[in-house]
Symmetry: C2
Subunit: 274 residues, 2 copies
């Protein structure tokens, strides 16, 4: 919560000053992504096409590309055909009780390192990466066939790094990359987009111990910059369109080599909510 418990997040991220102006632009509609597709190449193409119509889509140093998890998982072949899945008894019982697909429940349990809550039809678990989210990130909607579900990327930081390298090769420009997904949260209705993986900047801005421009101690301690970037990108792209990539300009990127699983995911020992 606002005051991190003893220990706190990893130190070392220098603060970043806000620019006063943030711009998020969705790239033009994207083709369907297939396993093995080179996302760096597809995004470079979309940036070129977009820049022809909107000069602001010509990428600049300091820009971030926010890529939705779904196309990353598809490109990486992180897709399961439910017709190949045999549910365990626990999955059958839960699915029966709550009107869910037992094969999907089985995949959720396989993707879970530990179930945090499994009640009222909802499964909240900690994934093998350490993310705590609904259904372990297994997603049935919006795929091209009703029996296919996507899993989260195996290593979303590495996914972001690969896209970043592909973009650098094609554009001659080192752009930061974030892989984003929509997570719910306790206590408030509605989902917001957060970062699963990052490359090219540190995802937390650490202001602890600093004073503001007026010499007063800072209100905030550690700001989840990468997550806020994903939220801004979601507003630009929306859910109804086929626009899975957003360029974000003007975000205060903390310098350093970042990782979501290492820097943002709270180890269980520090967490108060099981």
């Amino acid at each position: 919560m606002t005051v991190p418990p003893a220990g706190g997040p990893p130190p070392g991220t220098p603060p970043a000053a806000a620019t006063g102006r943030l711009l998020a632009i969705a790239l033009p509609p994207f083709p369907d992504v297939l396993p093995g597709d080179d996302l760096g190449a597809l995004i470079a193409d979309a940036l070129r096409a977009g820049a022809a119509a909107d000069a602001d889509l010509a990428p600049r140093r300091g820009d971030v590309l926010v890529v939705t998890q779904k196309i990353v998982s598809k490109a990486e072949g992180r897709v399961v055909d439910l017709r190949t899945v045999r549910p365990r008894p626990e999955a059958l019982a839960f699915a029966e009780r709550w009107g869910r697909d037992p094969r999907q429940v089985e995949v959720v349990l396989r993707e879970s390192a530990r179930v945090v809550r499994m009640e009222r039809g909802v499964i909240v678990s900690r994934t093998h990466h350490g993310f705590v989210c609904a259904n372990a990130g297994v997603d049935a909607s919006n795929t091209d066939a009703p029996d296919l579900v996507t899993l989260l990327p195996d290593d979303p930081d590495a996914s972001a790094a690969r896209i970043r390298a592909g973009l650098a090769e094609r554009l001659g420009l080192d752009l930061a990359v974030v892989v984003a997904d929509s997570f719910g949260r306790p206590w408030r209705w509605g989902i917001t987009d957060v970062a699963l993986g990052v490359s090219g900047f540190a995802p937390l801005a650490d202001f602890r111990g600093l004073v503001d421009t007026a010499g007063r101690p800072m209100h905030a301690t550690v700001v989840a910059v990468a997550d806020e970037i994903c939220a801004a990108a979601e507003l630009a792209a929306g859910k109804t369109s086929r626009r899975p990539v957003v360029l974000v300009r003007g975000a205060p990127l903390p310098s350093g080599d970042g990782s979501i699983t290492r820097d943002v995911v709270m180890p269980e020992a520090f967490d108060l909510f099981g």
Copy 2:
């Protein structure tokens, strides 16, 4: 979480299509806000001053003004002088054990309808409004005197409505208003800005049951648009500056009369994390 439990958030908010382009601009530095100040007037002045230097700060229909809680609380006199506070024994014991100010702990307990967690020096509670956050939103930093703490506004939706009315009177334009604060969250380090109050739009975009442009069921169910707007605004303004107000343009505002406490705050009966 991603799949709302049975019951779910309040229905009735129509979906809003994304614009493809989001812009967030911090207003120029603000004077210190004092109890009784008219925030509508101060923000209108700052918009005029800002627009002289940056034409994008000339407000347009559909823009949202994001106002940080701190100045709203100050204007409304929601400030407590800790020198007047007598801590209860529980506050003294907790403060002693964890090196905190017992008077501030006392104020936190007074602002709490129910304590959710009180351990390792951290107090997470449900406020009288229903917000679950650290320290019941009581904030000691960034005030002008070390013994003063701010409380959350008594009715942040009403605060937003008053600012909106004040702006409409001065600008002849009905702009949406959000009151924002920085909240932590379980399972992830770092704070993000979320909405405490809203006026002029519905804070949730409800896509349940709809299909996307390709005729496929929507990935997301209910998007927390107001919270994502606050996150984007935080990136533009940052924590180090005296820029407590941000203009956000291009957000897909769901139409309707909105309320954070009524629409976004999850009733305890639906919550899985006590």
